[in-house]
């Protein structure tokens, strides 16, 4: 479970980027976080990843209390999440297999387990035949699928996708989003998608939290991208 309790964030001590957020995301939920540029979506993602600390309020993810968490615990928090970024963030000098297996190596998993599990996840994202390719040899959609496989390989409970379709064409965007919806439906993963892609949000009819100027403007289940923003 993820819970924001009266969370505010300021970088300079004066202007609040996020103000008094109260959000509760239950295990297994699928949530879109939407809003225009500067609404606070990126800061919210940074708070979830504990890249930034909350200025006021409480932020709890499972058993981690992020507002008072020690730096040394941050890696362990991040291991409970799989993160997918707009720019994929793959290791350019590692192959597809190595990129995915690296997430397991970080956790100190055995090479036997890595060798048996990574192909399964490459198959899940439809990249079994590309395991020896380097990211530069793949299309944008394929690179995002590698990033997704990497995010999933450690079987995290939470998937955070920050503008996952921002760098890929509409057809592939739909594929990626369908993959996330399937993961949510079949495996019960909590999925949080930060996006500004109106058509995708409207298409899937999931819970939509709309941010505007750092405050929650709306929070609707089966919602649509707010027409007014």
């Amino acid at each position: 479970m993820i819970e924001f309790k009266n969370v505010s964030k300021t970088y300079d001590g004066q202007k609040f980027v996020l103000r008094n957020l109260d959000i509760k995301i239950e295990d297994g939920e699928f949530v879109f976080i939407v809003g225009h540029s500067g609404a606070g979506k990126t800061t919210l993602t940074k708070l979830l990843l504990r890249e930034e600390k909350v200025t006021e309020g409480r932020l709890v993810i499972d058993n981690f209390h992020l507002e008072k968490m020690r730096e040394s615990r941050v890696p362990y928090l991040r291991r409970t999440m799989g993160v997918v970024f707009q720019d994929f963030r793959l290791f350019p000098k590692k192959t597809v297999f190595e990129n995915v297996s690296f997430a397991m190596q970080v956790l100190g998993e055995s090479s036997k387990l890595i060798k048996s599990r990574v192909p399964d996840f490459l198959e899940l994202v439809g990249l079994s035949d590309k395991s020896e390719s380097f990211p530069s040899q793949l299309s944008g959609g394929e690179q995002q699928r590698v990033a997704l496989a990497r995010a999933l390989v450690n079987k995290p409970n939470i998937i955070i996708a920050d503008e996952p379709t921002g760098n890929i064409d509409p057809k592939l965007s739909l594929d990626i989003m369908e993959m996330l919806v399937r993961l949510n439906a079949r495996l019960g993963k909590t999925v949080i998608v930060v996006t500004h892609e109106r058509s995708l949000v409207d298409y899937f009819q999931k819970r939509v939290i709309t941010l505007n100027d750092g405050v929650i403007e709306s929070d609707r289940i089966g919602g649509m991208f707010n027409e007014e923003i």
């Binding site: 990843l49 504990r50 890249e51 730096e71 040394s72 941050v74 890696p75 362990y76 928090l77 991040r78 291991r79 993160v83 970024f85 963030r89 793959l90 290791f91 000098k93 690296f102 997430a103 190596q105 970080v106 956790l107 100190g108 998993e109 055995s110 990497r150 450690n154």
Partner: protein
């Protein structure tokens, strides 16, 4: 789940060195050059000290015997001197020998100056030339010699010996400071070179952080990378220093026979040890300093 293994980190270190070939090569070259500069400087200092050691024969004292002392007493004085501590050698120079030496020193051109100092008119005294073992106790020795009856004057070159010893101390201290400075500067140069290498990999490090890699996990491969770079630079520097030293010492001996140069074999063990040690140390410290700034969560 298993613990991280050392071989994994070493393997990742090697992969890092090869995959970032250009920056690794730059780091190796910078470190190697610095080690050779430090090595050459050390070799120069060692050889200067060695040459100063070899002109250490100023540890000589001359005891002039009074002119009216008979031959039997002169022999006795010799025996008394031999009994003193801190004497390494003793040589008797008779007054006739002293005159002969003086005449030879002035050469044929001025030998007529000594014509008047024939049999019975030789103004030079008998003397003992002796060498001492330890400069520290030389004052005691001079005092003891001056107390022997029949000895007229005791002359020594203690001032020159003391100056040489002082010079050696100054050279040692200066060189030590210069080496420390060179080492410090080298560490920063290497740290900057490695920092440049890491800068290019900032994205890679940030990905590791998002995946949930601990600081330890992120740092270790880079530390091993620095270690490998240091080791390779140290090894290459060992061979380069051997070649440079051997070549230059042959040239110096050829042109300046007065200067003695220590054979490289007598220095190689220490040089190799220092190069490999310093290479690894600088590589590891450089990596640690460079990686630190990327470790903010």
């Amino acid at each position: 789940m298993r613990k991280y293994s050392l071989t994994t980190f070493i393997g990742q270190g090697f992969i890092g060195v090869f995959r970032n070939g250009i920056m690794s090569t730059a780091s190796i070259l910078v470190l190697m050059s610095t080690l050779i500069v430090m090595g050459s400087f050390a070799a120069l200092i060692i050889n200067i000290n060695s040459n100063l050691d070899s002109i250490d024969d100023f540890n000589e004292i001359v005891c002039y015997i009074k002119l009216d002392v008979d031959q039997a007493r002169v022999t006795q004085i010799g025996e008394e001197i031999k009994k003193l501590k801190n004497i390494s050698s003793i040589r008797f120079i008779s007054k006739d020998q002293a005159l002969k030496d003086e005449r030879a020193r002035y050469g044929d051109e001025y030998s007529h100056l000594f014509d008047d100092y024939g049999e019975g008119a030789n103004p030079l005294p008998d003397s003992f030339r002796l060498e001492y073992k330890n400069m520290k106790d030389v004052d005691i020795l001079v005092y003891q010699l001056s107390q022997i009856s029949g000895i007229d004057k005791v002359k020594n070159r203690l001032d020159i010996s003391k100056n040489i010893a002082k010079l050696k101390r100054v050279i040692s201290l200066t060189s030590m400071w210069l080496m420390v400075m060179l080492f410090t500067v080298s560490t920063f140069v290497i740290a900057n070179t490695i920092k440049l290498a890491f800068y290019a990999r900032e994205k890679e490090i940030s990905i590791m952080r998002y995946i949930g890699a601990t600081k330890f996990y992120i740092t270790m491969p880079f530390i091993f990378e620095g270690l490998i770079i240091g080791l390779v630079a140290g090894l290459v520097a060992c061979f380069a220093q051997w070649y440079i030293y051997t070549y230059l010492s042959a040239e110096i001996i050829k042109d300046y026979s007065i200067v003695s140069v220590l054979p490289y074999s007598s220095l190689s063990f220490y040089f190799n040890l220092a190069f490999l040690g310093a290479g690894i140390l600088v590589g590891v410290i450089g990596s640690s300093l460079s990686i630190r700034r990327y470790m903010k969560v």
